[in-house]
Amino acid sequence: MEAMISLMIGVLTATGVYLVLRARTFPVVLGLTLLSYGVNLFLFAMGRLRVGAPAVIGSGDSYADPLPQALVLTAIVIGFAMTAFTIMLALRARAELGNDHVDGRG
């Protein structure tokens, strides 16, 4: 299972990096989204993988590490805010500059 998760994180990173390096705004936003998935999974996995042990007191004998979960929860929401901001920036840039190139040159 650990190998599977590691591979998932790796693929998300690779695809994210590739898309972030594109010259148009929309793929860059997609790339950022994929990278966020990868980073969130990676951070979450730092608490190691536990099956059937949610960190709710009284639900079992031992619990998964709640700390990375709390970190990732806010990271997901902030990640959304960041994605939203970037895509709006892209819209604004297109309206002002007339194209969707990341550096604004047609």
């Binding site: 299972m1 650990e2 998760i5 998932m8 994180i9 790796g10 693929v11 998300l12 990173t13 690779a14 695809t15 990096v17 590739y18 390096l21 594109r22 148009r24 929309f26 793929p27 860059v28 989204t33 994929l34 998935y37 969130n40 999974l41 990676f42 996995a45 608490g47 190691r48 993988l49 099956v51 042990a53 949610p54 960190a55 709710v56 007191i57 009284g58 619990y63 709640p66 700390l67 979960q69 709390a70 990732v72 929860l73 806010t74 929401v77 902030i78 959304f80 805010a81 994605t83 939203a84 901001f85 895509i87 709006m88 920036l89 819209l91 297109r94 309206a95 969707d100 990341v102 550096d103």
Partner: protein, 941 residues
């Protein structure tokens, strides 16, 4: 408490004055005067203590772990300076009211003046060196605002920037010096530092400490070679010059030298550095002052010279010299403030400050002329005026045994020469301005200024006379008190008599008076000589060359690294991370795979993982077909949510799922305004390069994740798990961490969310977007804008969805859920209405302005945090209790719930703000859906 109030009153007052200024100039002036008097009133009850030789210390714990507390100190030196700052400040407030023309904002000047006053009070009343430095930097910043008050003038901006650069750089050096001093003594408290002079002087780091601290003090007090900023700061309005350059800003450096006198003085290094620099400044300032044709320029260089005199006195290092230094601080502050104000009156009345044009003013304003001449005579050191007494003490010290041992005859000679020039430039101020023929071509005809504009000058001149004639009765107790604060030891015997018999000092005074008159008599050949050689010693030019060089260097580096291409920047960044990360991993001797037992892989997980990997690859491969890419990236997000479900993170799964929905809707809306097909503009070589970089990054991350996941670790989570129920009152540990243990972080995060939403609102403001009329394949949009079934069900679902979100919110403290998730669910339920029923329909029924919602959320979260202060606990300490409700039964209520409500409101507000405003863009591009529909139907026919 009183010291803190004294310091804080001007800061708070600055805000009040800025508000009061809207009600007119008189309101601003009265408010400012009131603030100054209030600050004095706070200080008054403590004012007698230093006269008994005691020190008042007030302490509040701030950062004890690194030895920084809010500690305030009132001793003789501090009280003297606080008195000067507040007293002369009050006079400047009165004066400025008449000086500024109605066009200039008086409220702005007063607000800046009060900021500066508070910073200065902080410097002189602080016990902790680091806190002192903080106020020190505040004086640099607020004086920047004051000097650049007329910001539309180039010279004012330049002067302010130069003052800030020089004094700010000095402040940095001083910080380093203070840190060294703290290391040597083991404390930043002045009480400890002043008592460990021997330890400091014997330490290996004594010299660097001394040099760094002196750099700061010299830069602030305009000592040679940092003196050049002061004349350029004369671009400030004259009330500001009168305040900054007589009693406050430039005296801060002198204050610091006096303050640390017991800790640092008494070594040859001190004597030569402080004494030498002071002496050089004394001479340079005195000589340059004579050649300034600008009235304020003359006063600026004379200030430099007098500051040099005070520094030189402290440099001599004997207790008696230090007493003389303190005495001259008082005297210089009074006569120089009076002179600056007189110069301001002359400028105000004549419209110019050029002494080659201002002549014979005696005939136009005899009263002001008399006041100015008395102050100028004090500056020259004429008997029966205060300047004479301290100058005489200076001369006496210069020929004292100890000074002669250290400097030889150079000191008395240099001091006498400086005295000669001081008399000469004072004489010029008197003769050139008030006599010497008639005025030449003045912009206006001068006459006496308004009555109350003269009052501050009158008070100051009265002080000059009183101290000069009755020193023992007036100034002696204050001087003893202040000198005690400087020396921290019993005072040496000193005598403030006017007549000391035929001492060497008297002869030096006589030489200065006679010599100065002769120099002034021979001034014309001297001016001619100076004009020929002007610019040889221009420190400003050196400063500008250095500054330009620095800026050019910075620009060259920026240009080399930043080509303006995002792709290049990102590539560099990713490559840098790769190189650093891979080299770190390769250098490690431990194997890639650790010893931790791995979980078995089941078929469902394998399929889910495969779906994620394939979807991510498809997204990348077909990213030009943007709608397809959007759908597949949605699939990736879903599998991520499932992963959270599988590995015991229900909260994360719920969050990811709802964020996923919002994100996809958002990207879909945005895609409508972007090209739906991406252009191909990278060459094959670039594709291959990026493919390789991405592959490497992926492989490295996989290896990293694998090596971590196969190793055991030590967690700090046990604390949270153990304390979640007893400490936080909730059994869902993740939620308790968010709203309780790490509530401060969450508070920061919802603030970021709110800011992002506001930023987006700003980006969308007045945005003109082109909406396509057809999709990528040339098909017109479907005319059925809002399918009936969807619309009906969405309306039916709304109450249900809202109930679910309330449920999720309430149970969040004990079971998966909470403010973040509930907020997202509410937002989705509302967004569904927009999608299903159209923006127009929904907007009539729901307010589209969600700013108040965000503000309320942040406000509630903040108030919850602040409420714990009321109970004497730190910010955001939570409490909880169990209530018994009828029907519902045992119900737990925690203060963290209120905080979570704040989180909920911010999430709802921010999410809706983002999506609704983009949705409104759509509506603008289709102003009337019905008309569009009819148009299309016509087309078909």
């Amino acid at each position: 408490m009183n010291l803190l109030l004294t310091i804080m009153t001007p800061f708070v007052g600055a805000i009040l004055v800025a508000l009061a200024a809207r009600r007119g100039r008189a309101a601003a002036a009265w408010t400012t005067g009131g603030v100054v008097i209030l600050a004095m009133a706070w200080l008054a009850p403590l004012a007698s203590t230093p006269f008994w030789g005691d020190t008042v210390i007030e302490r509040w714990t701030w950062m004890p772990a690194i030895g920084i507390d809010l500690v305030f100190r009132l001793d003789g030196l501090g009280l003297l300076f606080a008195g000067l700052i507040l007293g002369i400040g009050a006079l400047v407030v009165l004066y400025a009211h008449y000086y500024l023309s109605p066009r200039d904002s008086l409220g702005k000047l007063y607000a800046y003046l009060l900021l500066f006053m508070g910073s200065m009070l902080g410097v002189v009343l602080t016990e902790n060196l680091i806190v002192l430095l903080m106020f020190w930097e505040l004086t640099s910043l607020s004086s920047f605002l004051l000097i650049s008050y007329w910001r539309e003038r180039e010279e004012a901006r330049r002067g302010a920037r130069m003052a800030l650069t020089v004094t700010g750089a000095g402040g940095l050096a001083m910080l380093a010096g203070f840190l060294l001093l703290g290391e040597i003594v083991g404390s930043y408290d002045l009480t400890a530092i002043l008592a460990s002079g021997d330890l400091i002087r014997a330490h290996d780091l004594y010299l660097p400490t001394l040099v760094l601290i002196l750099l700061g003090a010299f830069a602030k007090s305009a000592q040679f070679p940092f003196h050049f900023w002061l004349p350029h700061a004369m671009a400030a309005p004259t009330p500001v010059s009168a305040y900054l350059h007589s009693a406050t800003m430039v005296k801060a450096g002198v204050f610091l030298i006096a303050r640390l006198f017991p800790a640092l003085s008494g070594t040859p290094e001190w004597t030569y550095l402080v004494g030498g620099v002071g002496l050089a400044t004394l001479l340079v300032g005195a000589v340059f002052a004579l050649f300034k044709h600008d009235l304020k320029g003359l006063l600026a260089y004379s200030t430099i010279s007098h500051l040099g005199l005070i520094v030189a006195l402290f440099g001599i290092g004997t207790p008696l010299a230090a007493v003389a230094g303190v005495f001259h601080i008082i005297n210089h502050a009074t006569f120089k403030a009076g002179l600056f104000m007189s110069a301001g009156i002359i400028d105000h009345e004549c419209g110019t400050r050029d002494m080659r044009r201002i002549n014979g003013l005696w005939n136009y304003m005899p009263y002001t002329a008399t006041l100015a001449m008395v102050a100028a005579a004090a500056m020259a050191g004429v008997p029966l005026l205060n300047g004479f007494l301290s100058k005489e003490m200076f001369f006496a010290e210069a020929v004292s045994g100890e000074a002669l041992d250290q400097f030889g005859w150079a000191l008395p000679v240099a001091v006498t020469i400086a005295g000669v020039f001081a008399v000469a430039y004072s004489l010029r101020f008197i003769h050139d301005v008030f006599f010497n023929g008639e005025p030449i071509d003045l912009p206006r005809t001068p006459h006496e200024p308004p009555r109350f504009m003269k009052v501050p000058v009158e008070i100051l001149v009265l002080l000059v006379l009183m101290v000069g004639i009755f020193p023992a009765a007036t100034v002696e107790p204050i001087l003893s008190m202040a000198a005690l604060g400087v020396l921290q030891n019993p005072l040496p015997a000193f005598d403030l008599a006017i007549w000391h018999g035929f001492s060497p000092a008297l002869f030096m005074s006589l030489i200065a008076l006679v010599g100065g008159s002769l120099v002034y008599y021979a001034r014309r050949p001297l001016y001619a000589f100076q004009t020929r050689h002007e610019g040889m010693l221009d420190a400003r030019r050196t400063f500008n060359v250095l500054l330009d060089g620095l800026l050019g260097f910075a620009r060259a580096i920026t240009a080399a690294l930043d080509t303006g291409s995002l792709q290049r920047q990102l590539l560099f960044m990713i490559l840098a991370v790769l190189v650093l990360g891979v080299s770190g991993m390769a250098a490690s001797p431990s194997p890639l795979t650790g010893a931790r037992a791995t979980l078995p892989l089941d078929a469902v997980s394998l399929i889910a993982g495969a779906v994620l990997i394939v979807s991510a690859l498809v997204t990348t491969w077909w990213h030009r077909d943007r709608l397809t890419a959007l759908i597949t990236i949605g699939a990736v997000g879903l599998v991520v949510a499932l992963t959270f479900v599988k590995f015991s993170a229900p909260d994360l799964a719920l969050t990811q799922l709802s964020v996923e929905i919002v994100t996809i809707v958002l990207l879909m809306l945005a895609l409508y305004f972007l090209p739906q097909r991406g252009a191909t503009d990278s060459g094959d070589a670039r594709h291959v390069r990026d493919f390789l970089v991405a592959g490497l990054a992926g492989a490295a991350t996989t290896a990293l994740a694998w090596s971590v996941l196969t190793r055991d670790y030590q967690t700090i989570a046990d604390y949270f798990i153990a304390n979640s129920v007893p400490g936080g009152g909730g059994s869902n540990v993740v939620n308790v961490i968010l709203v309780d243990f790490r509530g401060y972080d969450t508070f920061g995060e919802i603030t970021v969310l709110a800011l992002a939403a506001l930023g987006i609102y700003g980006l969308l403001h007045k945005l003109q977007l082109e909406a396509p009329s057809h999709d990528t394949y040339g098909r017109a949009w479907h005319p059925d804008l809002h399918p009936l079934l969807l619309a009906t069900f969405a309306r039916l679902l709304l109450p249900l969805a809202l109930v679910v979100s309330v449920f999720i919110f309430l149970r969040g403290h004990n079971l998966p859920g909470g403010g973040f998730i509930a907020g997202l669910i509410t937002a989705i339920a509302l967004i569904m209405q927009y999608l299903a029923n159209g923006v127009g329909w929904t907007q009539e029924r729901l307010p589209s302005n969600t700013h108040p919602l965000i503000a309320a959320g942040l406000g509630i979260a903040l108030l919850t945090g602040l409420a714990s202060f009321l109970f004497g606990h730190p910010f955001l300490t939570s409490t909880f209790t169990h209530l018994h409700w009828p029907i519902v039964g045992e119900f737990e209520i925690a203060s963290a719930m209120a905080f979570d409500l704040g989180v909920y409101l911010v999430v709802v507000g921010a999410t809706l703000l983002i999506l609704i405003h983009l949705g409104l863009m759509h509506n603008l591009t289709h102003p009337n859906p019905a008309a569009t529909l009819q148009g299309m139907l016509k087309e078909k026919r």
